[in-house]
């Protein structure tokens, strides 16, 4: 059974000019122990998906329809307290900027202990010992001495390791990582990614890795979902999606990534820009920019259709034109 199932999820923002649909019928699943990448441009809805799953949508945003099923139970309709019990303990989250994610006035050890005590019944001594253990596990040198240090006393990369420890210390089965490496130096990025992969493997945790960096996805994930304008354009095993994309948007994305091997005069660009939420075209959201659009694309919105080992929301897959 899938650990997480998202069915036809719609997230809306009521504004005075009407209701904006930020996520439009998203469906996907995450298996236990799997790393799912969610990639797309800014504003495509990647972070919103994560926020919706963990129940931290900023008002006035709300789940308008659809279901989120975790471990066989529906979680999108739970009350505040029930959701709180799930957060941290069953579903964890890592955010982008380690500088602002940690309370500057509380030592890292205390923050770890606090998180663990909230969800697990531990004695003070055990909690402290576990805190030190976690710090060691995420690779903080001299953990037992630094356990009561403050966040500002760590470097950026170290801080993000602390954040990872905090997200994992209550032993959740799913972690939503929202751009965990974007704010870090490139050299540190690789370390953090490796760390996350190792921890996930060691503890059997699934990860939903949200990022706009295709390279990270290719390195780390088992499967990837490509999002566009609040919808999923393509989803499938990462190797297949990268090497043989079926959706024209994914194709465009892959073509626009420079590579060390091939030599091209110019990187391919997709003309135009992702439409704003209040200006999404009828039919397929991508049809106005698509070089292969057919008449049907302007009228009907494509569902995720099977295309080999992946699924793509594109009629061309059916027409066999790929």
């Amino acid at each position: 059974m899938a650990l997480l199932e998202v069915n036809q999820l719609c997230v809306e923002f009521p504004t005075r000019r009407g209701v904006l649909r930020a996520l439009d019928n998203i469906s996907f699943g995450i298996e236990p122990g799997e790393i799912l990448g969610v990639v797309g441009e800014s504003g495509a809805g990647k972070s919103l998906t994560g926020a919706a799953i963990i129940g931290l949508l900023e008002p006035p945003g709300r789940v308008a329809s659809g279901q989120i099923i975790f471990d066989g139970k529906r979680i999108d309709n739970l009350d505040q307290e029930a959701m709180r019990a799930i957060r941290g303990r069953h579903i964890g989250a890592i955010f982008q900027d380690p500088l602002t994610t940690l309370d500057p006035l509380m030592s890292v050890g205390k923050q770890l202990i606090e998180t663990m005590q909230t969800h697990l019944k531990l004695s003070d001594r055990d909690a402290k010992a576990r805190a030190i253990q976690w710090l060691e596990e995420v690779g903080i040198p001299a953990a037992s001495e630094r356990v009561f240090a403050y966040p500002h006393q760590f470097s950026g990369g170290m801080r993000q390791r602390v954040v990872i420890a905090l997200a994992l210390c209550a032993e959740p089965r799913l972690v939503i990582a929202d751009e965990p490496t974007t704010a870090l130096d490139v050299s540190i990025q690789a370390q953090i990614i490796t760390l996350m992969r190792r921890l996930a493997a060691d503890h059997g945790t699934s990860i939903m890795l949200v990022t706009h960096d295709m390279g990270v996805i290719a390195e780390t994930c088992d499967r990837v979902a490509v999002m566009y304008a609040g919808r999923i354009a393509e989803i499938g095993p990462v190797g297949d999606v990268v090497r043989s994309p079926h959706h024209p948007y994914t194709e465009g994305l892959m073509g626009s990534i420079p590579s060390l091997e091939s030599r091209v005069a110019r990187l391919r660009q997709i003309d135009g820009a992702m439409p704003r939420l209040n200006a999404i075209p009828k039919g397929c959201a991508f049809n106005l920019r698509c070089t292969k659009a057919i008449a049907r694309c302007q009228d009907e919105r494509p569902e995720l259709l099977p295309a080999g080992t992946t699924q793509a929301a594109c009629f061309l897959v059916q027409e066999g034109a790929q």
Partner: protein, 323 residues
């Protein structure tokens, strides 16, 4: 850290010198002190002698240095109006002002901070909105009006609290206190509420707005993402981060207390330094005004320094060891 204190002290000195200069210059431009001291009729000889005694025939800069010297020894000259040393007058009035200000400050903190936290946490509850309206009124009503209204209600209508004066005071060593007599304690209530009202509403609004700001921050989001209880989030994380900037601003607001104590003392005829200042402005009593100016400058510079030190003590980021 000592380097820090030293640096601030060094910064403060030019400020104090400038204020002292203004303080000194006031004497130069104001009428003729000779008239105040010698009366209307005096001979040229008497005038010359007086000038020489007062040192008024010396060059400007020399006079300024002499002035500084006197000031540092606590000699602020003689009040034109009361014919007594200004230093003595100020020392006499100091306890009254200090006790009033302290009472008001404590009141403001004890009421303002908890209410501010409450309205910050329960942002839209009825009581929060009521508090916000009340605090807006408190900020908009001038201090003297609050005093008058309180007098009208409690002293005139109900007759339960005195409307002027300090009540019975107890002297010991150089201090006089009103806290030890029941009439003294009664007398300080209305003035303290009046004086503290502005401060209290300010604290309330400040704490609330800081709290709201903090609640939207990334680290609070992360706390939520970790499933911490509302209680833990509010009191272990949000509160401490709210109070750090609030402390500095509140400390700086102490200055406002001193400023408004002038008004409160006038309304209630409270025998403090503020009342003395108002009376001396009305009478063009320069020595008192100039001494008050200097005193205020010292007080404010000290407050700023103490607040900076407080910041140091409270925020671990400033204590060093950071990258």
């Amino acid at each position: 850290m000592f380097a820090f204190i030293l640096a601030r002290l060094l910064q403060a000195i030019p400020v104090l010198l400038v204020v002292a200069f203004i303080s000194f210059a006031m004497f130069q431009f104001v009428g003729d002190p000779l008239v105040a001291l010698l009366g209307q009729n005096f001979t040229a000889e008497e005038a010359d002698r007086m000038r020489h005694t007062l040192g008024l025939d010396q060059p400007f800069l020399v006079q300024y240095i002499h002035f500084l010297g006197r000031v540092l020894q606590g000699d602020f000259g003689i009040s034109y109006r009361l014919a007594r040393p200004v230093g003595e007058l100020l020392a006499e009035r100091l306890p009254a002002t200090v006790e009033l200000s302290l009472t008001a400050a404590v009141l403001a903190l004890l009421v303002g901070v908890p209410l501010g936290v409450l309205t910050g946490i329960k942002r839209n509850a009825l009581i929060s909105r009521a508090m916000m309206v009340f605090s807006l009124i408190g900020v908009s009503l001038p201090t003297f009006l609050i005093g008058i209204l309180l007098i009208l209600f409690f002293a005139v209508q109900l007759g339960v609290l005195p409307s002027y004066g300090r009540g019975d005071v107890v002297h010991f060593s150089h201090w006089t206190t009103g806290f030890l007599s029941s009439s003294g304690r009664q007398a300080v209530i209305l003035p303290a509420i009046t004086l503290g009202m502005f401060q209290m509403t300010l604290i309330l609004r400040l704490v609330r707005s800081e709290m709201l700001e903090v609640m939207r921050s990334d680290f609070i989001k992360f706390c939520r993402a970790r499933g911490l209880t509302s209680r833990a989030i509010n009191f272990n994380h949000a509160l401490s981060n709210t109070l750090v900037p609030v402390i500095t601003i509140v400390g700086l607001q102490l200055g406002m207390l001193i400023a408004f104590s002038i008004v409160t003392e006038t309304v209630f005829q409270w025998p403090g330094m503020g009342l003395l200042l108002v009376q001396s402005i009305g009478n063009a009593d320069i020595p008192v005004m100039s001494a008050y100016l200097l005193l205020i400058a010292v007080v404010f510079v000290t407050i700023n320094l103490v607040v900076d030190l407080l910041y140091f003590a409270v925020d671990p980021r400033l204590r060093g060891g950071g990258k």
